[in-house]
């Protein structure tokens, strides 16, 4: 089992390295460069050349990749090209904001989705089941910024219960943060709900068709007990997977939601950096996003191995 786990972790690290290469190549391929983006329409060839030299953009890209990789190994994400500040200084508070919002949404969305999924499995085919499925399907079918705008119109403009901007800063209290983040949290919850709900329902339903459940039914055990105590443990692996996938989405996929609610998270930071061709920042954000995905996926795999003995041995 240890070998399995080690293999999985090693695979994660290799994937992360591949991601770093892809990010670097990808950002190199972006048209335009930071010097012209910073100087904007007013750039003249001389000022661009002066700025490029100052920013070290004249080095070959292979060399710059190695410098970058070496920096990251030492925990140094480098400096923003556009304003010279250390990236980690700006990235960490924003990462904290993003994780706060993702955590807030996860705390609400995961129990809700799993609970609704189990309930749907218990009352399969009932009005409740169909309603839950249809509503979540609708919310996942429209783009998240649209969900966000609908919530803003309803709760910020008509009812004025919540602010339309989710501005937070270091002085905001925990309660303040919960309050101003409510609408983005709801948006994210609506967006991820359906996926987890359906997977939970499908997974539990599949297990419900197995012979040992049939024998439990024949023993006269109540249906909810069968679902929760007999079926759920065996249905966990795919549920963990889809939860991990959605958790990663809550961190990585919030860019549009952050733009709609003007939330100072990492997504907005990356969008700004892309428009300014601030490559080190784009690379740092990209690596962080990649790392989040890989970390959560690896964790999900490990959890699945842990809760399903059949996965512990290589076939």
């Amino acid at each position: 089992m240890k070998k399995r786990i080690l293999q999985r972790v090693l695979l994660g690290i290799i994937t992360l390295w591949l991601v770093s290469v892809l990010i670097f190549i990808g950002t190199e391929m972006l048209p335009g460069d930071v010097a012209t983006a910073i100087l904007g329409q007013s750039a003249t060839p001389e000022t661009v050349a002066a700025l490029r030299l100052q920013l070290g953009l004249d080095e070959p890209s292979m060399l710059r990749y190695l410098h970058w990789l070496a920096g990251i190994m030492h925990g140094d994400l480098g400096h923003s090209l556009a304003n010279g500040r250390a990236i980690s200084d700006e990235l960490l508070p924003r990462l904290a904001n993003t994780l706060f919002l993702a955590g807030y949404a996860a705390v609400i969305a995961i129990p809700l989705a799993v609970g609704l999924g189990i309930a749907s499995a218990i009352w399969r085919g009932s009005v409740f089941d169909r309603l839950a499925n249809t509503l979540t399907l609708i919310s996942i079918s429209v783009p998240e910024f649209f969900v966000g705008y609908i919530l803003v119109i309803a709760f910020a403009i008509r009812l004025t219960w919540f602010p339309s901007l989710s501005m937070v800063d270091s002085s905001s209290s925990f309660i303040d943060r919960l309050y101003v983040c409510t609408l983005p949290m709801l948006t994210l919850t609506l967006v991820v709900l359906a996926h987890m709900l359906r997977m939970t329902r499908a997974s539990v339903t599949a297990v419900m068709a197995s012979p040992y459940i049939e024998s439990a039914v024949l023993k006269g055990i109540p249906r909810w007990r069968i679902v929760v105590f007999h079926a759920l443990p065996n249905a966990l692996a795919p549920i963990i997977n889809v939860v991990a996938f959605n958790l990663a989405y809550l961190v990585v996929g919030v860019i549009l939601v952050e733009v709609v609610f003007v939330y100072p998270g990492i997504g907005q930071y990356m969008v700004d950096a892309v428009t300014k061709r601030d490559l080190p920042v784009v690379q740092a954000c990209g690596l962080l996003f990649g790392g989040t995905y890989i970390f959560l996926n690896t964790t999900a795999d490990l959890l699945a191995i842990w809760c399903n003995p059949r996965l512990r041995h290589a076939r």
Binding site: P31, N83, A156, T160, M167
Partner: protein, 527 residues
């Protein structure tokens, strides 16, 4: 303002009347009170002190800096004017008026100028302003190492010296009667001599640095010792960066901010329905361009250019793309608000027959061209391109629209594609506009147009101090660009801001949104 299209409002905006002027002319017809008409209810009220002014602004980025040599967008520009003062201010009638330079005088020929430094001004750190601070602040943008955006505009300055403690002598390589306007550029803000800490700028402005998170939020508090007695009324100004137009509009409607800049042309009519808001519509030099590269075929033939210029229905594009919030362009870049605007030039109109006439004159049966466009050029550029495509067809011009990616538009398309679209934010003087984009040696001559007569006249007008003579020459220059230049300029777009009715003292201004960037120190909050 309930009805932005009423003739009175239009009159007021078109004529850029002062407050007193407006009230006089309105009461002269005796209808102000009869109709209960109050275009800006705040006009009658006296300034009040106190409150925190919250501004929701587009044009900010996490990479913003308060280093004046690197300003390139709206948020840093506005923040700079909160913390620091300029040398010269452009007022709401588009005139250069004193700010930290309290007076100036040109020697004959306009190549030598003496500027007086304002007395009795202190920086936030208590240092008294003197000529040395101003020399330092201007020199930040000059010299070989400068990466300032206005380096080339200051290049004609050959000498910059102190003459006594509070006088500065500026020498130019050739005469320029508009030097004070040139020095009104927003990059030229003043800091103490030797100052370099751009993360905490110290200036002489109405507000003092407090909190600053680039691209997100900033808070500046009132400077209790501000030297302008009639400015800076609120206790603090909070700037929230909201680049997304929908989020900005939502913040305005839900009352989270007192004012927003850059209201979307598409949603302005929707915003106007809200009774708690004023829409501030400023006519100025912002204009939208179709750029033909005069150095390549077929645009090197003026008949082709004329055919294209007659192939566009300006009114239709104004009505649809800008929803009427702008005015018709006449293929030259000088706005109606400019003192040298040529009123005698006939407005060019849509005339497909003339397009065909000019094509025939150029020896062409029809014309197939490719227009590079993107909404990066200006909001609605792609819509304008599509409308033009349909209109031009009637004149025998087949336009193929090449949609370009927005984020590299200014690097890869502008000044490179043979036929592309763009915009200019406007310049305070005709000379600056022409010498930035139309003089044959200009760095941003975006149509690669060269005309010897134009260059000679431009140079001649620049050094003249006789206003009548200058008006004559600039009038002729407008006519030359109109009938010969490579830019088709169908529209001027208004700068649109929205503000809560609680904001007093807000007015249109010909330079940019938010009263030329100085809104924060000019408005007050009604209780």
């Amino acid at each position: 303002m309930k009805d932005n299209n009423s003739p009175l409002t239009k009159l007021m905006q078109d004529a850029q009347l002062s407050r007193r002027g407006f009230i006089t002319s309105a009461s002269a017809v005796g209808i102000t009170s009869a109709l209960g008409f109050s275009p800006f209810s705040a006009f009658a009220a006296e300034p009040k002190k106190g409150g925190v002014l919250k501004l929701g602004m587009s044009g900010g980025n996490t990479s913003d800096t308060l280093d004046p040599t690197l300003f390139s967008d709206w948020v840093p520009l506005n923040q700079a004017y909160m913390l620091m003062n300029g040398l010269v201010e452009i007022d709401e009638n588009n005139k250069a008026t004193p700010e930290l330079f309290s007076a100036w005088e040109a020697k004959p020929g306009a190549a030598e100028w003496v500027f007086t430094v304002r007395d009795g001004v202190t920086f936030h750190n208590g240092k008294k302003l003197d000529a040395g601070d101003i020399l330092y602040s201007i020199n930040l943008h000059r010299g070989d190492k400068s990466k300032s955006a206005i380096k080339s505009q200051l290049a004609p300055i050959t000498g910059l010296t102190k003459q006594g403690d509070n006088q500065i002598l500026i020498t130019l390589d050739s005469g320029n009667a508009d030097l004070p306007y040139l020095l009104a550029d927003y990059h030229l803000v003043v800091v103490p001599d030797g100052f370099t800490d751009w993360s905490h700028p110290i200036g002489t402005g109405g507000y003092v640095f407090d909190q600053y998170e680039p691209g997100v939020r900033s808070l500046f508090k009132r400077n209790p010792n501000y030297w302008k007695p009639d400015r800076a009324f609120v206790d603090a100004v909070e700037v929230l960066v909201i680049n997304d137009p929908t989020a900005r509009t939502n913040a305005m409607i839900s009352g989270q901010v007192h004012a927003i800049n850059r209201v979307d042309f598409k949603t302005v009519d929707f915003l106007k329905r809200s009774p708690a808001l004023n829409i501030v519509r400023s006519s100025g030099g912002q204009h939208f361009t179709f750029l033909m590269d005069c150095s390549v075929a077929p645009y090197n033939n003026n008949d082709v250019r004329m055919a294209i210029k007659h192939g566009i229905d300006r009114q239709k594009i104004l009505d649809t793309v800008l929803r009427g919030y702008g005015s018709l362009g006449n293929d030259h870049p000088i706005p109606k608000t400019d003192r040298f605007f040529n009123h005698s030039l006939e407005q060019r109109v849509y005339d497909p027959d003339k397009s065909q006439f000019y094509l025939k004159k150029a020896g062409l049966a029809d014309l197939k061209i490719e227009l590079s466009s993107s909404d990066a050029a200006f909001a609605g550029a792609l819509d304008a391109a599509a409308l033009f495509q349909g209109q031009a067809q009637k004149g025998g011009i087949q336009v193929n629209i090449k949609r370009q990616p927005a984020d590299s538009y200014w690097d890869d398309v502008w000044m490179k594609a043979p036929f592309s679209m763009g915009y200019w934010g406007g310049r305070p003087t005709a000379d600056q506009m022409f010498s930035t984009a139309y003089q044959s040696t200009a760095k941003w001559n975006d149509t690669h147009w060269k005309d010897e007569k134009f260059d000679a006249l431009l140079l001649q007008a620049r050094s003249l101090l006789d206003e009548g003579k200058r008006a004559e020459i600039y009038g002729e220059l407008q006519s030359i660009v109109r009938d010969n230049g490579g830019a088709m300029i169908p529209l001027f777009g208004d700068y649109l801001d929205a503000a809560s009715k609680k904001v007093g003292g807000i007015k249109p201004h010909p330079m940019f949104n938010f009263m030329g960037g100085r809104l924060a120190e000019r408005v007050w909050l009604e209780a």
